[in-house]
Subunit: 244 residues, 2 copies
């Protein structure tokens, strides 16, 4: 699942960011982590922040250059907070980047590259990339923490993958409740009308009020159980109404 | 910008998660943070992890119950890692939740609620919500760190807001380079053809090869500057070719 998509972190300063990035990756089905010249690695902080994704940290490959990290990749997207003057093709929308990377990653290795916390990627490193992507953000404060940026783009990759017809992804949906029939709904609305008239809320059948209530319950889509509950309530209320 | 959308964190255990969540919020244009019974707050860890979003932490409202936190809201979405058996309306897709919350938030306060790191929200707290949302994730390891979950959903909210015609959001695009005219492109392709024939790469005009190259450069969309660069290169190469 998404196994051809490599996440590359270049010269990460805080080992905690490596761990948190690994966790972010694993929640989104990514497993291939490569570190280019991490400042301190291995490190207890990386393992601690990884939580249940320590396997990704333990299996992470460490290399000396970005070139080495992506040599076998057919597409390399550099994530940068700021656009560079170098007119590398740029994805405005992370979702577009994700769709394309997942598509290319179906056949060959591809990579998404993140730079240093403070300084991002150098121009030489940008030259190892075929595309750039940035995460649209608040113009007044738009720099995400490194691991947060990894989480956001990993989420976009997982979303793009899920939506492919061949992904086989099945959301964990709750069991659907049984729905009432039209006849059962009609009985309920008749019952409700009777109680409204009997209680003096309306003095005769009032088409507009009844139409509003029918629309409300149509939107609510009560299950059989819920309708039954409402009928029971109406029954209890009726017992206190004056005899007709 | 997105000012009616409140982020509520219930009984957050790690103050660092409060700070990191505030940072995540601010990068995505959110400013209204409310904390329900945080375990330790204020705390230096919250300020430290907030980075440039300390103002959100300082302005965060602290209340004693979720009910109090969302009393004035017209829509309250509970973010939970697991679906509850309670059939509260559920958003499968964070993007759908975001579109709706931004829409509702145009007129009235709305809230997105996150539970405890380990235990999420209690059933009573779910009852304060009108909807649930979960972030689709790896079925084998799908629990995001709290601040990461805030970042992902905040990103979806910002995306939904950006895409509205009335948002006024303008992406920071690099200045577009001037494009060559058809005539300039034709001159370039003629020049390239001459060099290909003159060098012996093709022995006569070869329509298929030329069509491929025209398609390549059509996709590449060289700017005027780039075309000029290529013409210069062709000129330099020509000087070394045997006289015709």
């Amino acid at each position: 699942m998404l196994s051809n998509i490599r996440i590359v972190l270049v010269q990460t300063y805080h080992p905690g960011n490596i761990g948190a990035s690994a966790r972010a990756m694993k929640t989104m089905g990514l497993t291939d982590l490569v570190l280019v010249n991490p400042r301190r690695f291995p490190d207890p902080e990386a393992s601690r922040l990884a939580a249940g994704a320590e396997d990704l940290v333990d299996d992470a490959r460490v290399v000396g250059s970005l070139q080495e990290a992506v040599a076998d990749c057919v597409q390399v997207v550099g994530a940068s907070a700021r656009l560079r003057s170098l007119p590398l093709p740029h994805f405005d929308e992370p979702a577009d980047m994700a769709r394309e990377l997942v598509e290319q990653g179906a056949d060959d290795p591809v990579a998404l590259v993140f730079g240093r916390e403070r300084f991002g990627l150098t121009n030489d490193e940008i030259r190892c990339c075929s595309h750039q992507v940035s995460i649209p953000a608040n113009p007044d404060y738009g720099i995400l923490n490194l691991a947060q940026a990894v989480q956001v783009l990993a989420h976009e990759l997982f979303t793009a993958w899920r939506r492919r017809p061949d992904s086989g992804y099945r959301p964990a949906l709750p069991a659907t409740e049984r729905q009432p029939t039209r006849e059962q709904l009609d009985h309920f609305h008749d019952h409700l009308s009777r109680v409204m008239q009997h209680s003096g809320f309306i003095t005769q059948p009032h088409a507009r009020t009844e139409a509003h209530l029918q629309a409300l319950f149509a939107r609510a889509r009560p299950s059989r159980r819920e309708l039954s509950l409402l009928r029971g309530l109406l029954g209890s209320l009726e017992r206190h109404l004056p005899d007709e």
